[in-house]
């Protein structure tokens, strides 16, 4: 499962963006935690972390709404990059 990715993302939010995300399911838009400036900052930090790459050209707003969803996108991308099939289903839990 992608729980380690979830923890790492929460750590990036806290340490780099100075944003405390209350829960992996918190709606990042409705709570005002993520706007375009914060998103770009997030992507800049993730660029330095090949294991946490977000394929921006493949994602939709839906995928950015919570840490859980971001983690799913990252996990799917990582699995595809390894040449495998994604172990994480795309359908929403």
């Amino acid at each position: 499962m992608h729980s380690s990715v979830v923890d790492e993302l929460i750590a990036v939010f806290r340490d780099e963006l100075h944003v405390e995300v209350p829960s992996p399911d918190t709606d990042l838009f409705d709570s005002g935690l993520l706007d375009s400036l914060q998103l770009v900052q997030l992507l800049l930090h993730l660029e330095q972390r090949p294991d946490l790459r977000i394929p921006l050209e493949e994602v939709d707003l839906y995928d950015l709404r919570s840490v859980h969803r971001l983690a799913r996108v990252i996990a799917v991308r990582a699995a595809l990059d390894r040449g495998g099939t994604p172990a994480v289903p795309r359908a929403e839990a």
Binding site: V19, G32, L37, V40, L44
Partner: protein, 525 residues
């Protein structure tokens, strides 16, 4: 000429009633729908006790509804005051307290924000008009959507006064209190009419509505569209997060005009989401609010060579924009500076002792109920006795060929993603937080698309542990998200100059060298 803004819509509704005026997602309003709905609202407001000259605030996510409200409020002879649906409540409360509206119109997912802002308002609470399904009973709306639908659709008689205020737009204030800029019908009309002539806008145009309605630039999107009988396409705010979705929006809506702050154009260029010959129907690309980096302009002009590119310049105090520069050809070098050009018809642009001063048809009557700030910024005209001019605080150089180039600011105001930010407003808010002994806010140039990074240095109270996430979160309840610092440094004491003032240049240097360190680290990693 005695036309007022609402006449623009009435004229289109008579000429082409079925033509589309505004599009938002799958919803659209014709000019006739818009005119009739605004008539009903004007009568509803009048029945609720709103009188000409009153203020009416509105709070709603970007959608068709607030477009109807702006017009309905004007038709009732009142002035509209848009409130940012992103909050925060204490800041909105100060705005509402300052303008003492007779009513606040609301719809959509703003109920908690509205409830919070109503708490602690000084006496004489404004009426709530809940213009959406299911009025929330806790807010006790004085009228709702059903009252509006029942109201007579015939226009309300209201004397047209072109020099009356049409709206008040609040911008960042250096002491922590947002300043309300009063804008008249004639101010907006002058720009809209110039733009119509200059750009040749007509009823075949499909215009972007990107800027939020509480910002001055949106006034051109809205009333420029109505003046031309064109279509306004509201850009969903969340698309701003995804550059490829923004370009999809431009393609699918077949926009003919794009107008935004430069950071949006920059964001799309950095993500490289434009194809050669993209947006075949796009006729013009305009930006305002800050400098568009020339490499970004080159990127756009190479990919959309069929469009006209125009740099507009001017603060809210002189309404939308006061000067323009049509870029004649793709700049040969990324180092080429783009000037702010010359004054729009009816406007005047002067550079006095290096500071840009503006006068003419767009000049606001001043700040809402603040004669002191008004007198400080709107000064006697340097050449024409009896007239006024506005001191922008923008520093400029006039080149030998007469072109005017911006070079910086005379104060600590910055522009980040087009948002006008007084660093003093952030410091004032930090000053109210418990746990901090002192703090200072500086801005350093950024290589990112936002152009400036806001940095905060703070000293906790002795024995108090303070962490940036908690500070950021506390501050986010007092100032809008775009004012939140990106960098936080805890110090044991703020650096001081020999005169005892906070040594801001030194703080900036420290943040800048830290930033350079980060950039080096990421390049070598």
């Amino acid at each position: 000429m005695s036309r007022v803004l609402q006449d623009l819509v009435t004229a289109q509704a008579q000429r082409r009633p079925e033509a589309t005026a505004v599009v938002s997602g799958t919803d659209r309003l014709s000019y006739s729908d818009l005119d009739v709905a605004a008539n009903r609202l004007a009568r509803t407001l009048r029945a609720a006790g709103c009188r000409p000259g009153d203020r009416v605030c509105f709070l709603a996510p970007k959608s068709l509804a607030p477009l109807v409200w702006m017009l309905g409020i004007l038709k009732a002879g009142a002035m509209y005051v848009p409130l940012d649906p992103a909050g925060p409540a204490p800041r909105l409360r100060r705005i509402v307290a300052a303008c003492e509206p007779c009513a606040i119109l609301a719809a959509g997912r703003v109920e908690p924000l509205l409830a919070e802002l109503m708490q602690g308002l000084p006496s004489l609470l404004p009426l709530i008009g809940w213009l959406d399904a299911c009025p929330p009973c806790e807010l006790r709306p004085a009228f709702d959507e059903r009252d509006m639908l029942r109201a007579d659709a015939a226009p309300l008689h209201c004397a047209a006064r072109p020099h009356a205020a049409a709206h008040i737009l609040f911008t960042s204030g250096s002491t922590g209190m947002p300043k309300g800029v009063i804008v008249t019908h004639a101010n907006v009309m002058a720009f809209a009419e110039w733009a119509l002539r200059h750009f040749g806008l007509d009823s075949t145009d499909r215009v972007s509505g990107h800027t939020p309605l509480h910002f001055d630039l949106s006034t051109y999107d809205v009333f420029g569209t109505y003046a031309a009988g064109a279509e306004l396409h509201l850009v969903p705010p969340q698309l701003a997060l995804l550059p490829h979705r923004l370009t999809d929006f431009i393609r699918v809506s077949r926009l003919t005009q794009w107008f935004s702050v430069p950071s949006v154009l920059n964001y799309m260029a950095k993500a490289d989401v434009l194809a050669p010959g993209d947006f075949p129907e796009l006729r013009r690309v305009m930006w305002c609010g800050e400098v568009l980096p020339t490499p970004v302009l080159i990127y756009w002009m190479q990919r959309v060579p069929h469009a006209r590119f125009t740099n507009l310049y001017g603060p809210t105090e002189a309404t939308i924009a006061s000067s323009y520069y049509d870029v004649p050809a793709c700049p040969a070098s990324p180092a080429e500076a783009i000037p702010i050009g010359r004054a729009c018809d009816g406007e005047e642009l002067l550079v006095i002792d290096g500071e840009v001063c503006l006068a003419g048809a767009g000049l606001s009557p001043g700040y809402w109920r603040d004669p002191q700030k008004t007198a400080a910024a709107f000064v006697p005209h340097s050449r024409r006795p009896g007239e006024r001019m506005y001191r922008t605080g923008d520093l400029a150089r006039v080149r030998a060929d007469g072109t005017v180039h911006l070079i910086g600011r005379a104060d600590t105001q910055i522009k980040s993603r087009g948002y006008r930010i007084e660093l003093g407003e952030i410091e004032a808010a930090l000053g109210t937080l418990p746990g901090l002994r002192e703090s200072a806010v500086v801005a350093i140039p950024s290589e990112g698309f936002e152009q400036w990074l806001i940095c905060c240095a703070y000293v906790p109270m002795p024995g108090v542990a303070v962490a940036p996430p908690a500070l950021r979160s506390a501050l986010s309840r007092l100032v809008p998200a775009y004012m939140l610092p990106a960098r936080w440094n805890e110090l044991t004491a703020l650096p001081r100059t020999s005169s005892g003032k906070v040594d801001r240049p030194r703080l900036k240097q420290e943040f800048e060298s830290e930033q350079a360190e980060c950039t080096r680290a990421s390049l070598t990693s």
